[in-house]
Symmetry: C2
């Protein structure tokens, strides 16, 4: 790389804004899963939108490819550079300003580099609620959440990140700034540029700021742990609770008995909430601004479900502490999975009406073609989103891991595609699913995306090798 | 127009699918407001997506511009042809098939030509709720709602049409079909094409089908009519009710005292719900799947609001009949307005936190510059959306109407733009606001939209003269 370019970038962002040494670059060139590792001549860390604009202008002038990066906590390699050593990393991690909290408009305006947990905190301090919530919330940035249209545990009630953003500020590949920071609930003045940039994984521009929706703060929640016999009953229980509770239903998570076994074996302090063993467990949560009758409603719903054969046993958390213990079982799966084996992961979504049949069929297919490999089946059933993972032994050889990953991905994703599902529900495409995207998307859809990519990034400098 | 093209179009859609006579074409070439009237060589009415595709291919081959049309009930002239006589009208009104209702997935899949009221009915028959609701629901089509990203009275709780669609089927300008009819809550596999086509007003392709979200059916609603003294108190009441009631708050509509006067004068059977006179009135509605404590909650909220000086008087409907009577006051404004004068209309949105200051300032500005002209101020305050109209005398001369419309639009829209608002909240741009869009949008945003338009419709055949 041109040392002259690095010098000019330094003029824009200051010395503290350049990361040049190999050791200092390490957290930027490798993702946190340690799956993708690349090289970069320089990590550039602008302090504000004007600096991002100047950086992009310099990169455009010199034909330098740019990899935008937030907290670098993605699951699909979307923020890692390739190993050419030609791609500049544009990190937003110095842009951490909460620009405005507007409690009356129910909006918060933030820099892209603000940590998700800090957005949640600022909302709470204003007596409001920002619903986006996911495992990495203490280290991921809202800009990364927007770039990947992150999902998480609150989608059932509040939608994905795209549904939570009213306005954006984006620096385009040519350095111009689109100031779309509107805090409006209704605005029909042209194409939905906001929605287009959200989920585009840094391939169309750099999101530098956003206006996000806030909601009323719940004044109470109740959580239940439910033992269920079949995937069909899990879905039936979901339908029943939705019809009875409406938007109060804030979470509906599922895990197989095997997941709970793993958590009990590998996570300290994990206690099985029910006496008997059930094939599946659902974590059901209601929350409400007026929570007086919440427990009664949950009890009523679960009693009706048991009568209808949709649930076999259930316990309702009697305190916030017990509620947190139930959530730890759900959240412990990732950690337990890492300790128990090498996971071949699937982040899939299906129409909820086809979820049960998919599970039965996929379980049978894998039992036949991949006998003996344990399935770690859990996820956000309320959104039709399963993390349908398969565990390989911890000491599996790299070549064998690669071979089995490809074969398992193909088997599972083909089944998903046949049922009108998605092979990437909430983790994005990045590098991980890029080739498979071409397999499962129609030519027409790929063409439309490429037309848009070429129109907005004609020099193809934005996050090359990702998504498309 | 080439009679050969008309013959070939007839081969595609059959004789009953062509509208050729002037009298028969009348309902298609003029919008229902009778504001825009154009000419067309032929109205083509395909029966299914394959026929739409064939029609588009023929038009592409012959360089024929196409104006897609749904129920032709738009407010901005987006579905009317120009007077060149060269633009073919592509009406979706024979595509009225409800393709699938999936109660477990909470989705409905429909042809674009299905009437909005029929979508609502099919949802209800399946024990579910489709929330989009607006005055024209008996004659507008869901395709038109999608093309214009329609708003209406349920946006506060459920969002605009864009938020209500999970998947689309679109015929592209070259006749190819994008089959994006996915019924998934989570799908992060590329750019948000769905969001892009929604609200693009027929300028990028023809929406032929959609997968729409369904919701749990409320089992009860309560409605209140509230007298309020100032715009600031109206907004304060909204904030209070949102924090207390959360998503139960289904409607928060506002009207000025003058609006109620008009309704009482011009709509038969309209009865003022409160004894005293108040400067503003709010129509507040809660609904819920578990409605047992709903009235109590509304009473509590209104009592607190009165104590805090946010409301002066209120009445809660004691029955569904009374509730409907309150809604008729709100819905009667359009009719009353037509009888009382010629309205200069504004369909604006503001951040809710700036709404009160806007109203005070706009009222003062118009009182000074346009003294004596009554202001008809009402709207969906819960969405920050006002129909801030101004009444001219019924016998105003056409030239004077034109002059005053331009002057009033400029005055109001400049104030809106200064406060970060939108000059087209829910009615779209069409022909009506096309020139003003250029005034209020940044160059960068206009450029982005034009880049997308040129990429997806390179021959510029889709709905020319609209939006951009």
């Amino acid at each position: 790389m041109d040392t002259e370019l690095i010098r000019r970038l330094g003029h824009v962002v200051g010395d503290a804004g350049l990361v040049l040494g190999e050791a200092e670059q390490a957290p930027y060139v490798e993702d946190w899963l340690r799956k993708w590792r690349g090289r970069t001549p320089v990590v550039v860390r602008p302090r504000n939108t004007t600096e991002v604009s100047a950086v992009m202008r310099l990169c455009r002038q010199t034909g330098t490819p740019v990899v935008p990066q937030g907290g670098n906590t993605g699951m699909s390699g979307g923020a890692a550079p390739d190993d050419s050593g030609a791609q500049v990393i544009l990190s937003l991690n110095r842009m951490r300003r909460i620009r405005e909290v507007d409690a009356v408009n129910n909006t918060i305006t933030v820099d892209a580099g603000v940590l998700l947990a800090d957005v949640q905190r600022a909302a709470r301090e204003a007596g409001r609620f920002f619903p986006l919530s996911l495992g990495a919330e203490g280290s991921c940035t809202i800009g990364g959440n927007l770039a990947t249209n992150a999902g998480g545990t609150a989608v059932l009630r509040y939608g994905n990140t795209r549904e939570l953003a009213l306005g954006l500020e984006v620096v385009l590949p040519d350095g111009r700034v689109w100031s779309g920071l509107r805090g409006l609930r209704k605005d029909n003045t042209g194409y939905d540029l906001r929605g287009l940039f959200i989920g585009s994984e840094g391939t169309l521009g750099v999101i530098t700021g956003a206006v996000l929706k806030l909601y009323a703060l719940a004044r109470g929640r109740v959580t239940a742990w439910v033992g269920v016999d079949t995937p069909g009953a899990v879905v039936g229980l979901l339908s029943h609770m939705q019809a009875l509770c409406g938007e109060r239903l804030t979470a509906f998570e599922m895990m197989s008995a095997h997941c709970l076994d793993l958590v009990q074996a590998h996570v300290s302090g994990a206690v099985q909430p029910l006496d008997g063993r059930h094939r599946y467990y659902a974590l059901v949560e209601l929350s409400d601004t007026a929570p007086e009758a919440l427990t009664e409603l949950l009890e009523q719903g679960l009693a009706q479900a048991m009568e209808a054969g949709l649930a076999d046993d259930a316990v309702i958390a009697a305190s916030e502490t017990q509620s947190q213990a139930l959530w730890r079982l759900r959240e412990g799966i990732s950690q337990a999975q890492v300790r128990a084996g090498k996971a071949v992961k699937h982040d899939i979504a299906l129409p909820i009406s086809r979820l049960a049949a998919f599970i039965e069929e996929a379980d049978a297919a894998l039992a036949e073609d991949f006998a003996g490999l344990p399935i770690v089946n859990f996820g956000h059933v309320g959104d039709g989103n399963l993390h349908y993972n398969v565990l390989l032994p911890l000491d599996v050889a790299a070549a064998e891991y690669g071979r089995l990953t490809a074969a398992l991905n193909r088997r599972v994703h083909d089944l998903v595609a046949q049922r009108g599902g998605s092979i990437s529900a909430e983790h994005g495409v990045g590098q991980l699913r890029r080739d498979e995207l071409r397999r499962y998307k129609s030519t027409v859809e790929m063409d439309l995306m490429l037309l848009i990519k070429r129109a907005l990034d004609p020099d193809q400098l934005m996050n090359p090798g990702k998504l498309l």
